[in-house]
């Protein structure tokens, strides 16, 4: 292994070094240096990642993966886990997204957070997050992956609660951590199961063993448990409730963690462990069903939100639902491709939304925006590009290519027709809420004052990502458009290939037409309802259905009633610990006996005599007859 390859460890280590520097010496460093350290380390990581990507293509490493062992972590008897990295094409895609988009968001944040008093703390957390996320995707064993997995969860908690003075934010942060932790515990149990069944947590060895063993109930259970971890982290039904509340964090955080990277860790996990799911077809199908249900529910909820960030949050949940749908249908590369495009356009949307929010002095209610098209042209255009990509406008947007690939492959998969129909319905809803948002924010009359323009540090990432949201779609063209498969060829070094290649072009075109129709229908309906100035002000959130949707389909309500309240009210009611009663009862019992015994000490001689006689008689009986 040559020198450059041995630098693999620096990709996560650089942001980590940034974090450590900022955490230990943060209050002695000037702001300018803080941003240099923070942005610099992540950018360097991004550069390195690009170098590795280049080498991956030009000089493919042995076994299609760069590997590096760092140190021996835990060795106890048969249990042995090292801190070791492995970079294959799947993690390459993840690393590129995390570092490049991460670097752009860092840059964006230097301006977005410029006035915040905890500037240093923000960048420290953000650096730590990047380091943890890179550990997650580069880990060559499940435990090391879990280290990153929990690490990103921690950073998510810290950043959601970044403005800690508002208790609401703290609650949202704790909620996010707890809900994802429920998933994490399932994942942990899955790891235990895998370890005792296969004797290792090393991913490649494990997957090899899985392929050898084939179908077994252990695998089904393991797949189910890993799925638990994945749905927690990725905000899928029924653990999706934390993600909308996570928008309490600063907007760059929402862009980086709660849209582009961390929330897709579940997708990564399932893709990474794909043989397990392939050998547990029932669970894999469940993945698809969960994805379908989620994309529909989240899409509907997005329709009823007033807060622009919450719309984007539900949209994220919904889009990850598409990825799960793809994973469940066995469209591994399609899922990852959608992850890739989604990371770009969703980061773009969040950052553009952030620009609006800053400009409007932290106003997030879309009904108080409007007419921003003329005042903020750059933001408008970039936001529009992002929106179109989200809505999957045909031909020119990245989102179109990735979503269409998913829908096509779902349709051609086993039992895929119904799931496909849900996907198309989702496409319609996506277009609907996306343009509802656009019309409300950028068209109509202006309702709020602009306080602040958009500076270069914020504008540059927007423009770059807007370009990306258009261009990256061409990395992967469907068969009818020439079957250009740069992305899937690359990723299929790691992931299994697709099964839909044999389908006819006419079917492919027909499906494309249907989904395109759905998208245009969505945009049209959105224009019909929210596009004209007259109806725009009508507030629909009063209707019961809207209220239900706005509250996220009542999941929060249900969990609050069924779990949170009983747990916390019970804990408060039992603060004095009911077990004490056991001992109190014991003590009073003994005392009662003691007092009645004390009454035998009457001082009366005849009674004493009687006792002696009684004792003697009993004794005689015992000795003589027992």
């Amino acid at each position: 292994m040559n020198f450059v390859n041995s630098l693999l460890w620096t990709i996560p280590a650089l942001p980590l070094a940034g974090f450590i520097t900022l955490a230990l010496f943060g209050d002695r460093i000037a702001r300018r240096s803080v941003s240099r350290i923070a942005v610099g380390t992540v950018s360097l990581s991004a550069l390195l990642a690009l170098v590795f990507a280049f080498r991956f293509v030009t000089a493919p490493p042995e076994g299609q993966a760069f590997q590096q062992a760092l140190w021996s972590w835990i060795h106890v008897g048969s249990f042995s886990v090292d801190a070791a990295l492995r970079l294959d094409s799947l993690s390459m895609v993840m690393v590129l997204v995390v570092t490049v988009i991460g670097a752009l968001i860092h840059l964006y944040s230097t301006e977005y957070m410029a006035d915040d008093e905890s500037y240093t703390r923000f960048f420290a957390y953000l650096n730590l997050f990047v380091a943890a996320m890179l550990t997650l995707v580069l880990a060559d064993n499940l435990l090391f992956l879990f280290l990153g997995w929990e690490g990103v969860g921690l950073c998510s908690f810290l950043l959601i609660g970044f403005w800690y003075e508002d208790p609401k934010n703290g609650r949202a942060a704790a909620k996010a951590f707890l809900v994802t932790r429920i998933g994490d515990v399932f994942m942990l149990i899955g790891m235990l199961l895998l370890f005792w069944h296969f004797g290792t947590l090393h991913i490649q060895t494990l997957l090899g063993a899985v392929n050898t063993e084939g179908h077994s109930w252990h695998l089904t259970l393991a797949a189910l448990l890993l799925l638990g971890g994945a749905i927690g982290k990725s905000g899928q039904v029924p653990l999706q409730v934390w993600l909308p509340d996570a928008m309490a964090g600063p907007t760059p955080v929402s862009a980086l963690i709660h849209a582009a990277t961390m929330v897709t860790a579940g997708v990564y996990l399932i893709a990474r462990m794909n043989p397990i799911f392939i050998h547990a077809p029932g669970i894999q199908h469940l993945v698809a069903v969960i994805g379908a249900v989620t994309l529909l529910i989240a899409g509907l909820c997005a329709l009823a939100q007033r807060d622009i960030k919450r719309v984007l949050a539900y949209s994220t949940v919904s889009q990850i639902g598409y990825m799960f749908l793809a994973l469940g249908a066995g469209a591994w590369s399609a899922a990852m491709f959608h992850f890739f495009t989604h990371a770009i356009f969703k980061a773009l949307l969040f950052m553009a939304a952030g620009a609006i929010i800053v400009a409007l002095h932290h106003e997030q209610d879309m009904f108080k925006m409007g007419g921003l098209r003329r005042r903020m042209p750059l933001v408008f255009w970039t936001y529009l590009i992002g929106s179109l990509s989200l809505a999957a406008l045909p031909l020119v947007t990245a989102g179109f290519y990735s979503k269409d690939k998913i829908l096509f492959e779902v349709f051609t998969s086993e039992h895929g027709k119904l799931l496909w129909a849900v996907g198309v319905a989702g496409a319609f809803i996506t277009a609907l809420y996306t343009f509802r948002m656009n019309f409300l924010v950028f068209f109509g009359t202006q309702k709020s004052e602009i306080h602040k323009g958009t500076g270069l540090a914020m504008a540059l990432p927007l423009m770059l990502l807007a370009a990306g949201a258009t261009v990256v779609g061409f990395f992967e063209l469907p068969a009818v458009f020439g079957h250009f498969t740069l992305f899937s060829s690359f990723i299929e070094h790691t992931l299994p290939g697709t099964h839909g290649d044999h389908a006819s072009h006419s079917l492919e075109l027909m499906l494309m037409a249907v989904s395109t129709a759905a998208v245009f229908a969505g945009i049209a309906v959105a224009y019909f309802i929210w596009g004209s100035a007259a109806k725009k002000s009508s507030d629909v959130t009063k209707r019961p259905l809207s209220r239900l949707l706005a509250s996220g389909m009542g999941f929060d309500w249900l969990y609050e009633r069924a779990i949170v309240s009983p747990y916390s009210a019970g804990a408060r009611a039992n603060a004095a610990d009911a077990v004490n009663a056991l001992y109190t009862a014991l003590v009073s019992g003994i005392e009662a006996i003691a007092f009645s015994l004390a009454r035998t000490q009457s001082g009366r001689l005849r009674w004493y005599m009687a006792a002696i006689a009684f004792g003697a008689v009993v004794g005689i009986l015992l000795v003589v007859y027992a």
């Binding site: 835990i74 515990v185 370890f195 603060a575």
Partner: protein, 498 residues
């Protein structure tokens, strides 16, 4: 002989402090700290000298031994022996002892007597960890009670009598049952072999019927279940911790509770492997119950010390799982867990003490926004809370993970349920962070009391936890128990099965 020094130094220091210091707390602190630091250095030196031992020598190598006759008529010896397990826990004891010694300050009445009692408690605990004669072990185990009780009564606050008496009674009840078991074992061994001894290595080879074996094991388990504590024997603990002085609470939670875990790992399970296997499901069920129930109770408390107390009980529930997992992974996980919990709980109680000193209250409902006032302190407390909730990268995770892994081998369901303790732990840990550090700053009576020193201690503890989290191997290598021959075979066969 070096073991005797380790054992005696703290007590000698305590006596010196008592007679030399009088009411001068600075002198008391200096002497006490020196008498804790000296054995600490000896232990570190011992560890360094023995860090090279390989897997092959496992099970046979003692780091040090010392034996003289004590009560020859019954074969009772003053026998000390140290293996990896004893070394680590002694190290923890001296380290926590040093922390406690350094936190002495002008606010304690009768500093000389206070130092003496702390030192005696430390020595008794070291006696527990070093004794290889069950009689000596039991004497140390029980003698811990006296200084502990005096510390509670003399330096506690609030309803100390009630708490202290409860503590005394619960421990006595368990202790006496264990005494019956120990003496019963002694007699059984004598009847079977004609040799009078209390050396546990000898006693563990006593042929026993399964019923009697289970009976003796029950005696041991009950004693340790009280001290650990396991639900439903835990009710003494929160009151005791809440009313004890900060230093006492630290010694109690960080070290004294570990004597029970140590006893399980050293005596209960290895001496009665067959019975332990029989009892495992029941005991582990209690362990799991403790993890969940104590964590739930922790969530309902408003007194910070009580929260930490319940959390401590919850975390020590894992040790039972590790001990009864009956495999190497579980055992070593339990050892790591004891060390790491010792470190993190020390930090937490120091943090609680700092909060109480600075604001005059431990009630989380009255606290809030401390982060705003002292972000550095907030960060330290946050990391300690994260250690408590078992975040990977901190030592506690290594311990808990290994314990769950070990448990899963024979008791997958138990391990799975116990794993959810992580969610409950997160719930109360984050509640502390949320209530105390987040939110708008409330009216807090800031005093001039500088927290720089306790914060330094916390930082050192955290550094140790991070180190263990990422590089636990030296600790894992040291975390070996020299076991009796019979059990060695058991472990070996378990190893082959894996």
């Amino acid at each position: 002989m070096i073991l005797v020094w380790i054992l005696v130094l703290p007590a000698a220091g305590g006596l010196a402090a008592y007679f030399a210091a009088g009411s001068n707390w600075r002198v008391a602190r200096a002497i006490l700290a020196a008498s804790m630091a000296a054995p600490l250095l000896l232990l570190v030196w011992l560890w360094g000298r023995h860090s090279g031992f390989s897997d092959a020598s496992r099970g046979t190598e003692w780091i040090g031994q010392f034996t003289i006759a004590w009560i020859p008529q019954r074969g009772i010896q003053f026998a000390l022996a140290m293996d990896g397990l004893a070394l680590l826990l002694s190290l923890l004891t001296c380290l926590v002892g040093l922390v406690v010694a350094l936190s002495l300050n002008g606010s304690h009445k009768l500093p000389g007597a206070y130092a003496l009692l702390l030192a005696l408690l430390t020595t008794a605990m070291l006696g527990v960890f070093l004794a290889s004669d069950l009689f000596l072990f039991f004497v140390s185990y029980e003698v811990m009670l006296l200084p502990a009780y005096a510390l509670l009564i003399g330096w506690g606050h609030g309803d100390t009598r009630r708490a202290a008496t409860r503590f005394f009674l619960f421990t006595q009840a368990g202790g006496l049952l264990m005494l019956v078991a120990i003496l019963g074992l002694h007699v059984a061994h004598y009847q079977a072999t004609g040799v009078q001894t209390f050396l546990y290595r000898e006693l563990s080879n006593t042929p026993l019927s399964p019923q009697v074996s289970l009976l003796f094991l029950t005696g041991f388990i009950l004693a340790f279940a009280v001290k650990l504590p396991l639900v439903p024997f835990h009710t003494w603990q929160p009151d005791t911790y809440a009313s004890a002085s900060a230093e006492t609470t630290i010694l109690f939670s960080a070290v004294m509770a570990k004597t029970a875990g140590y006893g399980l790992l050293r005596f209960a399970v290895p001496m009665f492997p067959g019975a332990a296997e029989t009892a495992a499901p029941g005991v582990m069920a209690l362990g799991v119950l403790t993890i969940l129930y104590a964590s739930w109770l922790a969530y309902g408390q408003t007194d910070l010390k009580r929260i930490v107390a319940y959390s401590s009980a919850g975390h020590l529930g894992y040790i039972v799982l590790g001990a009864f997992a009956m495999n190497d992974i579980g055992t070593r996980g339990a050892i790591v867990q004891m060390v790491c919990h010792g470190l993190s709980v020390t930090g937490l109680f120091i943090a609680v003490d700092v909060i109480e000193r600075r604001t005059g209250t431990r009630d989380i409902e009255q606290l809030g926004g401390l982060w705003k006032i002292s972000p550095r302190f907030g960060s330290l407390a946050l990391i300690l809370a994260l250690a408590t909730l078992g975040l990977p990268g901190l030592g506690n995770f290594v311990g808990e993970f290994l314990i769950l892994t070990g448990t899963y081998q024979h008791h997958p369901l138990g391990a799975a349920i116990a794993a959810f303790g992580a969610v409950l732990a997160a719930a109360y840990s984050l509640r502390i962070v949320q209530k105390v550090f987040f939110g708008p700053p409330k009216e807090v009576t800031e005093t001039s009391d500088s927290a720089a020193f306790p914060m330094t201690i916390c930082a050192v503890l955290i550094a140790a936890l991070v180190w263990i989290g990422f590089f636990p191997q030296p600790l894992l290598d040291a975390a070996r128990t020299v076991r009796a021959d019979r059990n060695e075979a058991l472990v070996a066969s378990a190893g082959e099965q894996q």
